[in-house]
Symmetry: C2
Amino acid sequence: MRISELSKASGVPVATVKYYLREGLLEPGEAVNARESAYDDRHLSRLRLIRGLVHVLGASITQVRGVLEIIDAPDLPPLKAMGRATAALPAVGEHGDRTNATEPDRAVAVLQSLGYRFEPDTSTVRQLEAALEVAEDAGITLDDEQLAVYGEAARRIARADFARIPWQDAELATTFAVLGTALYEPVLLALRRLAHHELGIELNEGQGDEASDEA
Amino acid sequence: MRISELSKASGVPVATVKYYLREGLLEPGEAVNARESAYDDRHLSRLRLIRGLVHVLGASITQVRGVLEIIDAPDLPPLKAMGRATAALPAVGEHGDRTNATEPDRAVAVLQSLGYRFEPDTSTVRQLEAALEVAEDAGITLDDEQLAVYGEAARRIARADFARIPWQDAELATTFAVLGTALYEPVLLALRRLAHHELGIELNEGQGDEASDEA
């Protein structure tokens, strides 16, 4: 297909496709003549992947390049790829200048009480620390019961995610491990907000009140 | 305290504090003399809240203003406030230009199969649709088993969140409902990534391999 068709099929503007080509995120198409190249389904699926990383996760071009390199690395075991991609991708909450120079004391205490096995000096532990700190600063510290439910829910979800990974196909397993880490996050968050809304409906019915505005 | 002390205590630069004052997000301090004002703990807690919304959620100034108006609205029932704040805050995944002009067919099918009570034409349903679409585009569609686990986990978490809300104090309940919706999200995501890491350690041990790089 031509670049205009690739653009249409992926929903990515032609100018942006050209930018990804210049940045080397997308391999050049096959030259048809001096002005035109032909693209195939591999280009389309790569383009959809880049779009997902940029639009859903807010990944920078540098971060996208990092993830693509991990996916394309030959013979990298899926679990290693998953760990590296997690470190390479933006954490939810990485919008600001929060540097977390201090030790992640809150996060370590929570993880220990939940019985998690973890390494303290990793980006995800620092992300948890920042999230706990912000909730505390805002005066809505999570209590132990709540954290226990969050911790157990996260483990159930992780087991379901791992059960979905096609381990027998190393390349496909890597794609699942790398992308599922990040791309399933908005699914979970949307479902949590919808579960809040559902509980709100039930509570309001119990009170004989009208339902809340919007989920 | 002086503006410099307010800045130090909140971790927000003086120039940014002045910007929030100009934008009306923060109430003016009490004038001490022609050049200086005094600020108190209410200013500090409001400033921490703004910082959390901006830095953790990536909220815009307009979105912050919307949430503060909801929190400050007298006599707004906490559940209504929660619904409105959810609609006002940025959804995870709102980084791009995805317009979701199409019907949220995937999301509706998933929610029906999970037995969720929902209203189809809401921002959260559209957020779920976008998230499912991105996963599908990337070739890692969630399967039914996985979605059932996500849906049940989200409901458990929502119940724990509601149990934490101090309903007897309407103002505090509103703060919990509005902020907990959003500020607990990064906690959940960090725990999920850490649960992946933990499973990875266990899998590697089972294979006699070394642990993955980074969580």
